[in-house]
Structures are given as C-alpha cells and as structure tokens.
C-alpha cells in the first residue's frame, strides 16, 4: 500500500467519528453495527488535527501545507507524520482514497 502526497483521502463510511470531551473517538461499524463492546479508536491532538483536514477535497500535500501554517514544525517533519498516520488509518479501513476531482 503506497500513500502518496498527491492522494486525496477521506473518512470511510464504515466509521463514525465524533469529538467528545476534547478527544476524537472513532467507532468502527463492524458488520453493520456500531459496537461499543468491540475496539474503539482515539486520536491524540496532532492526529485529530490531521483527521480534521482529511476532507476528501485536498490532497495530502495540501493537508501538510495547512498544518505547517498552523503548527510550529517543518513541512518535511509534518509530512512524515501525516504519511505514517494516513497509512495506518487506511490499513485499518478508517480512511479511503477519494477519487481526484
């Protein structure tokens, strides 16, 4: 699986994500059920910042540029982190690659 900087990604229809009490909670819809007795996922602040910008419209390069503007970090460093998280989220089927518009 290759995650590309020009790829566009969006949350999968198979998850429900909600910001609750400052934390982003992701509930996978497994076999058509939102199951609180199964595994849930949470993202830390930086993870949430990336998730919030994965809107299915801008590519990862655009996401990195937006984060670099809002945070005190070099785009190369942020880019590495974004690729790592997106790869994990795609592998866990929480993100899907959106068709380029």
């Amino acid at each position: 699986m290759t995650i590309r900087m020009d790829g566009i990604y969006a949350p999968s229809d198979d998850v429900v994500a909600r910001e609750i009490e400052g934390e982003l909670i992701i509930v996978p819809l497994v076999a058509g059920i939102g199951d609180m007795e199964d595994e849930l996922y949470a993202l830390n602040e930086s993870g949430k910042a990336i998730w919030d910008r994965l809107d299915g419209e801008r590519d990862l390069g655009g996401v990195v540029a937006a984060l670099a503007q809002d945070y005190d970090a070099a785009p190369s460093e942020i880019g590495h982190d974004v690729l790592g998280l997106v790869e994990e989220l795609v592998r866990r089927r929480m993100l899907v690659e959106a068709p380029a518009v």
Partner: protein, 169 residues
Amino acid sequence: MRPQPFDEPRLFVARAQELPLSGQALVELMRAVLARGVPFRFCARGWSMAPFIRDGDVITVSPFRHAQPGAGEVVAFVRPGAGKLVVHRVVARRGTASFIQGDSAPDHMDGIIPPENLLGRVTRIERNGHDVWLGLGPERYLIAWLSRTRLLIPLRAWLASWAKPWFRR
C-alpha cells in the same frame, strides 16, 4: 501568538471501559451511529429494568426508521433536563407522546418523553454471551400493562416466593 508544536500523531486502540466516556458522550456516539441507520451495541448499567435487563447486559439499540415505538417496547432516550441516557419501557402511548417507566422503578415514572428525546428501540439483549428474549416479544404488552397498573413488582415478588420452595429441593 506563537503556533503550538506538532507532536507525533498517535492512534490509540481502546475498549469503551478504558475510555473516560460520560453518559452524554455515550448519547452523542449513539445518536451519530443511529443517524447512519445502523444499530448501536453497548453495555447497560443499572437495575431499573430488572429482571428483563440486568446490570452488565449487552444491549443493541436500533434506529426507529419510520415507526415510532409502541407500548411495551424498550427504548433508549435522553431524559429531558438531565440529559442522561436511560433505557426504559414505553408503558402507554397517546398520540405522539410516549409514557415511559422502568420495569423495576414504578415510583420513578419518566413521564411523557417528547419524540425528539427518543433515540432508538432495544432489539437485542445479551447476558453472559447468550440472547435473552423475555421482555421483547409479545409478552411486552402484558409487561407494559402490569407496569402501568403497578402490578408488575408485586407479581414478581409473588412468583419468586412461589418458586422458591421448588428451587430449594
């Protein structure tokens, strides 16, 4: 203002019990899942629906879709004012209004719950890994009537006292 540092992003995997989820958080997640048209499964807490739903039972709440709940159905709703998630039984219907009460809490009638506070209907109860059907089938009409007339708890007590000698043998 200096921008904040960008920490390494992390994804945590957790069980619901490990996350500090308040009742309101559970309501929010349930609303979001049901709005997608899929059921929501979670662990029930409390004894107000005993013996049909017990503390620790895993219950599945399904969206209403088009039909509002009828008398006898067990529903999840948000208690007006308190914002608390409650799972109790509809004991009567008048128009669009649902009169709701816990099977084991006849003195604490939830009263009329507006339709917008109703979240979904309980369609499955699991206890120790097995399905429990008593309380959700056609007997629900009788349970609702007994609950409404405050006969459910005396009847349960009488049945328990009647059955006790048999279990002692």
